[in-house]
């Protein structure tokens, strides 16, 4: 099949976004309920902030304001994950079980692109991104961190985190090609994701190494704040740049393997 250009995919993604915005305006109740759900989850996250400030928690050099920066980054990343990826990844098992994938395979675009990025939820990320950005802003200001090129670096690390999130969270969803029920594995992936709720420094060293080098989940919401605080060395930055590339290659291989094993099950 002819390889489409990157520009074509950006244009197509724009159409997906437009369609999803129109759809969310059509079903307004769902839109508002989605926001309600995320606000409820935010309340749960706010409990940790309450504990951090009530107990004046210090983790090594990190003050409660620094920790707020970490929690804010995690909250923003959760919003981006929910809005951009989660809504697609939960559908994969339905595509496989219902046989919808048969139809999607015939489309003249990358199947992985279509399956993993077709839908965008506008309602789900709004509370998380807003609240997360406020937490980051407040934490940054109160911790008296400089607002210079650090901000660009922070945004860069958010971009890296987004790519890592896509790859890491897509992998469990690919098990749908092999197993009928993958809910527990997804739940496990979400539990591991929640480990980002606090700075990685609260974990024992062996777990930190696993979370950075084996399943690099700690890069998602730790490296941005650590970069701003000047806590990353050159090797850490290089590793953060390398991880999305390695993971993307891995995901592509796993995707190809999963699709090769796919046999139509539904209509």
């Amino acid at each position: 099949m002819k390889m489409r250009s990157l520009g074509y995919y950006f244009k197509l993604y724009g159409v997906f976004v437009k369609n999803c915005v129109a759809a969310s305006m059509e079903y307004r109740f769902n839109f508002w309920m989605g926001i309600g759900v995320e606000i409820a989850f935010l309340c749960a996250k706010a409990l940790y902030i309450l504990i951090v400030y009530q107990t004046n928690l210090h983790i090594g050099e990190l003050t409660p304001d620094h920790i707020l920066l970490f929690i804010g980054t995690y909250t923003m990343m959760t919003g981006l994950y929910m809005g951009l990826f989660y809504v697609n990844f939960v559908r994969i098992s339905q595509y496989v079980q219902g046989g919808t994938l048969d139809l999607l395979i015939t489309k003249p675009v990358s199947l992985q692109f279509l399956v993993s990025l077709r839908y965008i939820d506008i309602g789900l990320p709004i509370p998380n991104i807003l609240a997360g950005a406020i937490m980051v802003g407040v934490g940054w200001h109160r911790a008296q961190l400089p607002l210079n090129w650090n901000l660009l670096g922070y945004i860069g690390f958010i971009g890296i985190a987004l790519m890592i999130t896509y790859c890491l969270m897509l992998l469990p969803a690919l098990l749908s090609f092999r197993y009928v029920q993958t809910g527990a594995v997804t739940e496990m992936a979400h539990s591991i994701w929640d480990a980002n709720n606090m700075p990685l420094d609260i974990f024992p060293m062996w777990l930190q190494r696993i979370g950075v080098y084996v399943i690099p989940v700690f890069l998602i919401s730790n490296y941005g704040p650590k970069f701003v605080m000047g806590m990353l060395n050159l090797w850490d930055i290089l590793w953060a740049l390398l991880v999305p590339v390695i993971l993307f290659i891995l995901v592509r291989k796993c995707w190809s393997l999963a699709v090769r094993k796919y046999s139509s099950a539904g209509s």
């Binding site: 109740f29 769902n30 309920m33 989605g34 309600g36 759900v37 409820a40 989850f41 309340c43 749960a44 409990l47 940790y48 309450l50 504990i51 009530q54 107990t55 004046n56 928690l57 210090h58 983790i59 197993y179 009928v180 029920q181 993958t182 809910g183 527990a184 594995v185 739940e187 496990m188 539990s191 591991i192 929640d194 480990a195 709720n197 606090m198 420094d201 609260i202 974990f203």
Partner: protein
Amino acid sequence: MRAVLTGNKYVTAFTLGMQSSMEYRLQFFIGLFNLVFPIGLQCLIWTAVYASQDHQSLYGYDYGQMMLYTVLAGIVAKLVMTHLEHTIAEDIKSGGLNTYLVRPVSYFGYRLSAYMGSRVVSDTILIIVMSVVIGIAMAFHIGEMSLNRVAVAIITLVLASAVQFLLTYTICALAFTLQEISYFFVITTLIVQILSGGMVPLEVFGEAANQWFNLLPFKYTIYFPVNVLNGRLAMNEAFQGMLIQLVWFVLLIGASRMAWKLGLKRYVGIGG
């Protein structure tokens, strides 16, 4: 006796529930294993919190008690939370409820039996895990545990499960009225978990909030049984709490019956 039992429709529902819970065994065991992550994360957070403090005690708990609370609350939450909302709502939305309405079977009885059956294996494993935790706590003199206390805690746990089941069943009646209910259930489950002390001890919310929590049934599902078990509540407080659990049990039976009666009047069985 055996013939009566095997012929009983609710015993059959119980057996079916047990069988279906073991249908996807890998999923089942991974689901149980998942308990480790949130509990582990919370233990690490509390460890960091206590390590950065000069005080021995926070929110009235010393470090050992807080660890014990966190572990036991995680296990008790898994024991009492039903997660039946979506199944019941789907029956109401898709018309699956018709199947039960036209037959000589109580939907409540069927769901309760199937639910109890589905919990046999998982609850047995959870009780074994909880016994190990209690054994370790006793060995290291964490909390004030005794066999009498464990016996009382078992009764509070049974009552907590009953209250939680009835709460869920009552909330599910909203599916007769609301068009899109799945989001609503996510919100209620989360709120119930926070207010019942499933995430952090209720003392974190302060005294004023706790005065309000006393008026609600939620704290009697997780916070109360855990604190009976770990010895933070005196025996007379434990019996007082059990009485309140019983009151909520009776109130919720009435509330669920009324909610379902009203709901069934509005019910239009499409599909099924």
